[in-house]
Symmetry: C2
Subunit: 393 residues, 2 copies
């Protein structure tokens, strides 16, 4: 199957998708849309039926070996389902979608799965919502889809999975299971734990303390709204890499706390030195600010490291981070205003790369921030102002 593997795989391509959750159903939708014949299987008959109605494939088992069997069940069941179905479909290529790859690799090897026709997989697409109802054919458009290849993996198996990824519109990333797991621990699993830890502080807080919350906290805890069962499984399956990063986090946290503790102690001591304060009151011109700007060198370095880390995140278009310019515009919070603004931006020939709306609780206006390429920001601001918009660039 070298040469033109994609074409040969596409010819009469068929798939069995086991597990009709968000991921399995979305793959079914994408493959069906591309002309594949897709069968669906799930223990949960409600999900199975819904996935079928949505057009993700035919509930049931294929009459002959499908090109590919995609095992989209919870991680703990992946190895066994793969093994069972490899004994039924003797020529099919198998892949999975588990978000932790080392454990699955270990499991399938221990259970005796035929590794020549198994490719570990992980499409990095998801939503806060789950289930087939949240599925969409374009869920994987432009997203990374990791494929983990072992030495035994056949070229044919890899070619078939590359085609599946291509059809789903995703970008294939060929990495080792270990590197994958370290990466997702860093960019996904640890942030999930930290968002939960942060949001947990809010669970028991005095309600009046929460009234001052703003958009920053909402953004930061958005992913804390995730499914506890699913995420406990994921984090448990990637315990090692997650723990390593949390340990490093805890090390920094402990240093930050120690530094803050020193400040609070120093301040308590300082508070008893009333005599000095009274002395300086007799020389008003020389009064120096009360010494509350206690140095926090670790905290400062930490925030600087955070700046640097944040700026390393890849931006839109998967390219090296693009710095967009922001054009802020005040817009009444009523139907059609945002549309009018974007029409005006379009009329100015400007592609708006991102839109952020700052909520104005209880008020009739919102602040819309249009992110655009820096070289067009000035022209856009000018055009909008000419059009009567309240631009605050």
């Amino acid at each position: 199957m070298t040469g033109q593997p994609e074409r040969s795989a596409v010819g009469s391509a068929t798939a069995l998708v086991v597990g009709t959750g968000l991921i399995g159903t979305s793959v079914g939708l994408a493959l069906t849309a591309a002309g594949w014949t897709v069968w669906l299987q799930d223990r949960d008959t409600e999900n199975l039926r819904l996935a079928g109605v949505l057009g993700a494939g035919h509930p049931g088992l294929p009459p002959s070996d499908p090109t590919v069997v995609l095992v989209a069940v919870p991680p703990a069941g992946t190895a066994r389902v793969t093994l069972d179905l490899q004994r039924t479909y003797l020529t099919s290529i198998f892949s999975d979608v588990a978000s932790v790859k080392s454990q699955v690799k270990l499991d399938v090897e221990r259970l005796g799965v035929d590794m020549t026709r198994f490719v570990g997989g992980h499409p990095l697409a998801g939503r806060e919502r789950s289930g087939p109802g949240a599925a969409r054919a374009d869920l994987f458009e432009g997203r990374p889809w990791v494929l983990t290849q072992q030495t035994q993996t056949s070229a044919a198996a890899l070619a078939v999975m590359r085609e599946v990824v291509r059809v789903c519109g995703a970008q294939p990333f060929l990495v080792s299971a270990e590197l994958h797991d370290r990466a997702v621990a860093l960019v996904s699993h640890v942030p999930q734990v930290l968002a939960s830890l942060t949001a947990a502080r809010l669970a028991d807080a005095d309600p009046e303390l929460l009234e001052l919350a703003g958009q920053g906290l909402r953004d930061m805890t958005r992913i804390a709204d995730s499914d506890p069962g699913l995420w406990t499984d994921i984090i448990g399956a990637n315990a090692g890499p997650v723990l390593a990063i949390l340990d490093s986090f805890a090390g920094d946290l402990d240093l930050a706390r120690a530094e803050l503790r020193e400040v609070t102690v120093a301040r308590r001591i300082g508070m008893s030195k009333d005599i000095d304060t009274h002395q300086s009151l007799s020389r008003p011109v020389d009064i120096s600010p009360v010494d509350i700007s206690t140095d926090l060198p670790f905290m400062r370095a930490l925030i600087e490291r955070g700046n640097a880390g944040h700026r390393r995140l890849p931006g839109k278009h998967g390219a090296a981070r693009l710095e967009f310019s922001v054009v802020p515009v005040v817009v009444p919070d009523r139907p059609g205003e945002l549309a009018r603004l974007l029409v005006a931006s379009g009329d100015a020939g400007v592609n708006v790369e991102d839109v952020s709306i700052e909520h104005s609780p209880g008020q009739a206006v919102g602040l819309v921030e249009l992110s655009v390429r820096p070289e067009v920001a000035g022209a856009l601001a000018q055009a909008l102002r000419t059009g009567g918009w309240s631009v605050h660039a």
Copy 2:
């Protein structure tokens, strides 16, 4: 000045704003827009000049006692500047904008500031950007503005500051300095530290690990892009309340790490039991999933607490959290498409409460999620579909 304090304060209202950063300049813009006469003062002559050009007021000192002196300098300088100017303007009301209130209260009391005409203040508005160039008259629209009243504070002083808050379009919150500081530690300062700690993990990471990062991590670390000097000062000034919450966070983190450590140890022991695996291979039907679904009861409870905490955050319009429905639409990433979509939504008579754009790195399409009131979501989806839009509800 009881009865109609706002009106009497407005008559020939004048203000001196000391410090022409983001906050001071924005207050100057708002007061000027409302007909106040505003003077501006700053050691930084560049900032002072720019604030004047932007229309925030007149650089210079007022010829007679202004109605209010707003001290908008860094927290450490607040008390001294207030004391100095109280000796110049013997009848003016004074307030500040420091984001930590207990320390300022302590400082002004120790320095001998006249507390009858001092009201602590904190407008909870800000941006990732700072300086007078980022200022806007509407920065405070609908935002909370905390006023901290001491027993000595005169009714007149409070009335003047209530008027300033009203003119700026903000919502006054009258709370104690201590409660304020606990609140901002919870909703602002601790999240800042945690975002920095999270983003710091990315600073030294292997670049290829970052390629898998998605929107969740970007959202979570957005506030990590803040000014190190400013935030070190703020956190230092609120060290006590910040430390208390970080200690509670660290307690949970340590329990989570201990649980993960147990799992990794248990797994290492499990890995050596190869004989059991080979035995079960002889009875394929009975193979149970490899036991990787190790229970993480603490992690599960933590994520559940995070769910609960996140849901307690006030939503848009300052009301109890409104649950919006999301209508997802696939839109080509080119000028005018987003505008067309919002025009179509407006034509359907639907007010779009929020717009979120999911980036599709390297691809020509974006996923736009329109947040709308649940009762109109179905109709909007239907109307958009009829109009040819790719709706994925």
